[in-house]
Amino acid sequence: MKRVFLPHNLEELWRIIAGEPKADIYAGGTDLLVKLRQNLINTPSLICLERIEELKGVHEQGDEVMIGACSTHTSLLENPIIQRNFPVLTKALNVLASPLIRNMGTIGGNICTASPAADTLPLLYVLKAEVEIRSRSASRQMALKEFILGPGITCLKAGEIVSGIWVKKVPGFNLHHFEKVGQRKALAIAIVSLATLFKISGEEMVEDVRLAWGSVAPTVVTSNEIEAMLVGHRLSRQVLKKAAPIARAIVKPIDDIRASADYRRQVAENLLIRLGSVQK
């Protein structure tokens, strides 16, 4: 039998962690309890973060927004600050798993599980998100792309939790796009995904762009080269076709039960080509 702790605030949390150094920490449980069922968890105790209000909510601070790590995906979908400022996040959350998983799963959990197919990660990369990490005695902040080291591997040390995600507003970017390719329209692990932010001028020219692919490498893939190629042009088929082979070259997909590496490479290219017909 495992003991399950339910701290109500951070003070309590640090105390419990001190007393249970081997405990696994979870928030929504949608990853952890699945791993438990597969006999992959051997810790003697578990700590659930769901009651800690300090870790929830969305706070605006000037041109930055702080998202509490224990905010459920549903709460973020319904949050007007997120809806107003980060439509790309809303698009991704809408196709994450199912409403039931979204009611329970948290953005912090999605980040810390660090699956190569995580739905929130590509867009958090294009939003250049930073994670706030806290322990009993300290607090630090780092770029998300530095925080995630590989499949299931992050910079989190023992005694630490991700407490929040800092995202700068992106007012100039007027086209937010996210596409996820999966085996069905819901409850699907992404086979390939692409998150993009565009700043399109009045003359339909690309002034700025950020792209990030998911599920095509151990971690999210970005490309300064492709971004540079698109800036200063219209999003025409020609320009995108020129950039596409680079996408194929930079991704490092695997063969797995859902799709082959070949398919992933092809689709990583093709999702780029689709951008030419995406509406504002």
């Binding site: 409850l187 039960i257 093709n270 080509i273």
Partner: protein, 768 residues
């Protein structure tokens, strides 16, 4: 309350208790002092069993006992046609899911610990996983000593002369089709609960489609007296063929003797269900079709292989039904059909809604479209020209009798706005999307065929409370037959729902009525019920007539809750009739045996035993709208229409439920349900990896039933439970071909396969 008329869409009687969570499924049975039972499975596809080490597990606290084949008194063999499957494996393991040891424990935790501690000494044997290779030279044998090697069953049906036939053809099309396993994925996994009572009776509550047959199987496999076995079949939480035959019954039957007086529960979790239960047979089909210049089908050569895994489990019957349906609802002058049902070490191939017909329909309906393209005919035209009619001889040489509404289905579809507006819809495809429309014909025979008795025994009684109680003999696995039975009996007895009652199948009180399968559940039992209801009605009215001193029985009739005497206007409640009647008059039983085909297309008695030929067929035509994404290969079904000839519709709502459900499963079979097995090991072991459609993956569906009339069916009804699953795969394949000019011969049509086909087409065009 209105009385239960035939033809009214009356809501199902079980719906209330299911929406409140009160209805108890087999999985919901627990109890005081409960014992938990679980099975250790082989985990390897083909091996000799050298030893089974249970000693460590036996000593665990909480473990009551651990049983192996050594503890089985009887034959230790189960099976519906061939008894070739062990309850607990003895000398050999034949597939990864073989049960090897049975653990009884006080709680789930101890059960799982014990299962982990059991180890098996297995000497691996080379396995065979491809049905064609399994028939070849030097293939490892699954059952040594089986006379035909790995061939469980071979069926041949031939008419005319295909050699000459093909010479006379103007055009010939040839193709090979491959289809994978399909997993039932019923939401209630295999579950049962059992107890050995003091009087020696073994009571089993189980999620099953065949309580009476189960009883015999349990008795024989374990060496117990069949009279001592009572099986109760609650509503199943889905079955679709996967619970036709023994799942937990024999294991529970064995377990009870080792903890008498205590209730025992066995409930397979999802992963175990995937591992151990039978699936739809994977198939490889070689088709060659030739036509005359006017488009008349003239020669058809079919050779197909169904991979039945290591056990019969109705595999022979599945293959035989496929063989019989291989030509589709058409006239063809010369045919040669060869079907092989082959043993391998893959997961067990067994009954699954459609029962061998989805595979051949997938092939034939695509061949029809391929031929239409070759001839420059529309998909409609080629089907219309060859449509089978009542009075024709079908391609296997049997006269088509009974209601045959196939042509009418085609006509109805042709006049439907979805067919007429299709080009307009197709032209509106957005960027990187291609739209297509495809049709497929379907036909599906009902019942068990000419040899296996297809009968039902209905029993109705008048209760003390003045209600009519129907003893259902056929399990309601979700298709709503329990409600339909009440509707049928209620209509004859002129009662409303308040005065009708139904008892779910219990071998102690119901009468043997066959399995809930083969699209027979409403037809065969329905006919028996009509007989029983009429018989009881007559008895009640005879006595009521005397009571009212009526001159003729015509003066009295049943009304909801009573009998009415027209002449005087007097009434007597049914609860009073109960006291007037003697016990022997309060119950009526009636047997109905389904009519069978009189003609014989084959000398092969074994093929006849396995069901060839059937007599009564339902027909239909399906249409679907698809959109293909050229960048991802994703296929989306946007609309679906099924026109069906299933005779008279007793309950339009229940009928539509069946059509919708079959379409949804067919769409899954076509697009996303890829059951991956490598060297006999299941690589898609759960619902996270085996993908079934969600609410977002099934389109709006239209169902149009032709109101035809089948004289042999209750009120003119024909089977409707399976036919709709036969259509989606070929309809979608044809629509995709229409959309992008690519034909997919291997299913499911995953985005990856589609994208590959599109790329290959692009390359071929580039080369030209």
């Amino acid at each position: 309350m209105k009385s239960l008329e035939i033809g009214r869409p009356i809501p199902r009687v079980d719906a209330y208790s299911k929406t409140t969570g009160q209805e108890r499924y087999a999985a919901d049975y627990y109890g005081e002092n409960l014992v938990w039972a679980g099975v250790k499975r082989a985990g390897i596809a083909h091996a000799l069993i050298k030893d089974i080490h249970i000693d460590d597990a036996k000593t665990l606290p909480g473990v009551i006992s651990i049983l192996t084949h050594k503890d089985i008194q009887g034959s230790n063999r189960q099976g519906m046609i061939r008894k070739d499957q062990p309850v607990l494996a003895d000398n050999k393991v034949n597939h990864c899911g073989d049960a090897v040891a049975l653990v009884l424990a006080e709680d789930k935790a101890s059960l799982h610990k014990a299962l982990d501690l059991i180890t098996l000494d297995l000497e691996p044997l080379p396995g065979i996983f491809d049905p064609e290779k399994a028939i070849g030279e030097g293939a490892p044998l699954v059952h040594e000593g089986h006379p035909q090697g790995n061939v469980l069953f071979k069926g041949v049906l031939e008419t005319g002369d295909i050699e000459i036939g093909f010479k006379e053809c103007h055009a010939v099309v040839e193709a090979c089709f491959e289809l994978p396993h399909q997993e039932h994925a019923y939401l209630e996994t295999e579950a049962g609960w059992a107890i050995l009572k003091e009087n020696g009776q073994l009571k089993i509550v189980v999620s099953t489609q065949s309580p009476f047959r189960d009883r015999s199987e349990v008795a024989e496999a374990l060496g117990i007296n069949v009279e001592k076995v009572r099986i109760i079949a609650p509503y199943c939480g889905g079955a679709f063929g996967g619970k036709d035959g023994v799942t937990v019954q024999t294991l529970l039957g064995l377990a009870v003797f080792h903890c008498p007086g205590r209730p025992i529960k066995m409930w397979w979790d999802r992963e175990e269900s995937f591992l151990a239960s039978p699936k739809r047979h994977p198939a490889r089909l070689y088709y060659r079709l030739g036509v005359k210049p006017d488009g008349a089908l003239h020669a058809l050569d079919v050779r197909f292989y169904y991979d039945t895994g290591p056990y019969d489990h109705l595999g022979g019957a599945v293959m035989a039904l496929g063989l019989e349906h291989a030509c589709g609802p058409y006239r063809i002058s010369n045919v040669s059909l060869k079907g092989f049902c082959v043993y391998t070490n893959s997961p067990i191939g067994g009954a699954f809604r459609g029962f061998g017909v989805p595979q051949v329909t997938a092939a034939m309906e695509q061949m029809m479209d391929m031929m239409a393209t070759q001839l420059g005919l529309s998909p409609f035209e080629i089907r219309k020209r060859n449509a089978i009619r009542c009075g024709d001889k079908n391609p296997i040489g049997i006269s088509v009798t009974g209601s045959t509404g196939f042509e009418e289905c085609l006509k109805t579809l042709e006049e439907h706005y979805l067919w007429k507006k299709r080009n307009e819809w197709k032209s509106k495809a957005g960027p990187f999307k291609k739209r297509g429309v495809g049709i497929a014909s379907v036909m599906h025979g009902m019942g068990y065929g000419p040899v296996v008795p297809d009968f039902a025994n209905a029993k109705i009684e008048l209760t003390r409370e003045g209600k009519f109680r129907v003893f259902s003999g056929v399990v309601d696995i979700g298709q709503g037959n329990a409600s339909t039975y009440l509707q049928i009996a209620g209509a004859i007895l002129n009662q409303d729902m308040a005065h009708m009652e139904l008892v779910l199948p219990d071998t102690e009180s119901a009468l043997p009525s066959g399995s809930a399968s083969a699209s027979r559940t409403t037809s065969t039992f329905g006919n028996a019920l009509i007989g029983a209801a009429q018989s009881l009605k007559h008895r009640v009215l005879q006595r009521a007539a005397i009571y009212f001193m009526a001159k003729e029985i015509k003066e009295v009739d049943l009304i909801p809750g009573g009998v009415n005497h027209f002449t005087t206007g007097k009434e007597i409640p049914l609860s009073e009739m109960f006291h007037i009647l003697d016990d022997s008059e309060k119950v009526a039983a009636y047997t109905f045996t389904a009519p069978t085909a009189k003609e014989n297309p084959t000398e092969d008695q074994n093929l006849r035993l396995h069901g060839v030929p059937h007599l009564i067929f339902s027909y239909g035509v399906h249409l679907c709208y698809v959109e293909v994404d050229e960048l991802t290969g994703n296929i989306e079904v946007k609309r679906y229409l099924a026109v069906s000839d299933c005779g008279r519709i007793i309950n339009p709502q229940t009928f539509e439920q069946q059509i919708h459900g079959g379409i949804a499963q067919g769409i899954g079979y076509a697009l996303c349900e890829e059951f991956i097995v490598k060297e006999g090991r299941v690589r898609t072991p759960d619902l996270a990896t085996y993908i079934i459609p969600t609410a977002l993956d099934v389109p709006e569906m239209d169902s149009i039933p032709l109101e035809s009339y089948e004289p042999t069916g209750p009120f003119g009804l024909k089977g409707a439970g399976e036919i709709s699953i036969d259509g989606p795969l070929p309809a979608i394949a044809n629509a995709v071909a229409d959309a992008c000019g690519v034909r997919l011969f291997r299913s499911p049509f995953t985005p990856e396969r589609v994208l590959k086909a599109l790329k290959e087409r692009e390359n071929r065009e580039f080369e030209h």
